[in-house]
Subunit: 279 residues, 2 copies
């Protein structure tokens, strides 16, 4: 691919969909791969059709091709096929039926246990492992790897949705998958062919001006950006979700109370239980 | 793009490069976008050439198209152009000259401050913000967004390298960029055209069998996988880095001592200083 193939009308349409407004950013170079990325949407309903042979291996090769801090590779994947285990994971995640439905379900692990075993085998136990930094690196590397898998899947015509709600009970996830100390499921990922109608409309995001800063953080225009986004996300909600929630209402409902964290307020102690002291 | 265009020789070559061995995974569907992802390598030397107009906006649109947990969008970006600020950031990162050199340098923030302001404006201060979960979500979402930007950049012929070493001193990064409480630079990203010779060889990764588990975590074959990878990464080091370090030696040098964390052992207290109590 090179950056020279421009389909200006497609580009403008993609940006209008992603930002929910005609006032789109002045994007420059463009190509089919980028257009595909802009067209991302979460898929919460899957056909039972199996994936072509080797799809998991292709997606994993893409995932492993993402950058990994100092090549530490402190992440792993569990592919969950056992229906009983899928059922437990779906229950943990608040009964998300697509976890049962999708032909390929992956749990991405922040996994420092492999390197811990390496250090022990080498006679150099790793003093750096118990630190928050090491857990953070593992989680970030897992996220970058997973995102490569998502982008690759979408180029193959597959739909995806992340399952952050596995963090509602990371200890039970670890028990279900037999994880060793130093490994934790940070999120799940459903992959498969979307059921007709299960591909939601592209969800508009905040304007670039609301999230981009130049040399110095400057939130002075933020109230105006937020008001504009509230209006257009309210319209999206009416079109897609039979509600009229603004973005402000959504954020308040998701993060306003400890109860809304659905158990994830206990994540720190759960991680300690799983071998992450987070020093 | 569809998954039907297969160039089997190119596919095999890409897998051999990524895994450093002829014993490649049995990958299935393939296309040019996936081939491009497998060809990723870090670029640590940049030509001074400016990027085409609108490149930042294109990459940011790709970044914002990544999934974001509950649409909370708790990440932001600072584009750093001021040479004095670049110099401070490069110093924090252990004098990585490519931070000064690259035409586009971004700092990705885990940023809950925007939603904190939203809650205050709405009269509903957000009880969920001080939790580790919320910081983790922000970091994961920043990583997924950044990875989309990286994939998009590479389809445009640009090189990239992440700068995790900004976490050597996140407080000084925050001071340099004027970040409000509740925002922290989790990593930087250099983007630009690679200097001739600055594109390193594709770095081989652990075999898929070493990181993939089926229903239950199983590390019984791990010593064999590690021995094989040690040998091939030692060969990679000899070809590229005038050393003969195995993977085991690299991991031990990076994570073996607290000193090797280069200040990141203080990340937890630094995050508290920046408004992340990590409850």
């Amino acid at each position: 691919m090179d950056g020279t193939t421009q389909t200006d009308s497609g580009k403008t349409a993609a940006l209008i969909a992603r930002y929910g407004t005609d006032a789109v950013p002045a994007a420059g170079p463009w190509n089919a791969a980028i257009a595909g990325m802009l067209d991302h949407r979460s898929v919460r309903g899957y056909r039972p059709d199996a994936l072509p042979p080797g799809t998991l291996e292709t997606l994993l090769a893409a995932a492993q091709s993402a950058a990994t801090s100092s090549n530490l590779q402190t992440w792993s994947v569990v592919v969950v096929e056992d229906p009983a285990k899928r059922a437990v994971l779906a229950e943990i995640a608040g009964n998300q039926k697509h976890i049962l439905q999708c032909p390929l379900f992956l749990v991405f692990l922040a996994d420092v246990s492999r390197n811990e075993r390496l250090g022990i085998a080498a006679g150099h136990p790793l003093e750096g492992l118990p630190y928050l930094e090491t857990f953070l690196v593992a989680s970030i590397d897992a996220a970058m790897a997973a995102q490569n898998a998502v982008v690759a899947a979408e180029t193959l015509g597959l739909g995806t949705v992340y399952i952050g709600a596995l963090r509602n009970d990371v200890v039970r996830v670890a028990q279900t998958l037999g994880l060793p100390p130093g490994a934790v499921g940070v999120f799940g990922l459903c992959i498969g062919y979307a059921l007709p109608g299960a591909e939601s409309e592209v969800k508009p995001r905040l304007s670039q001006a609301a999230i981009l800063h130049h040399d110095t953080y400057d939130a002075s225009e933020e109230p105006a950006h937020r008001a504009a986004y509230d209006a257009l996300l309210g319209a999206y909600s009416r079109r897609n979700e039979m509600s009229a929630d603004t973005w402000t209402q959504r954020v308040v409902s998701r993060n306003g109370t400890v109860k809304a964290l659905r158990g994830r307020d206990l994540l720190k102690s759960a991680l300690r239980t799983l071998g992450f002291p987070l020093k």
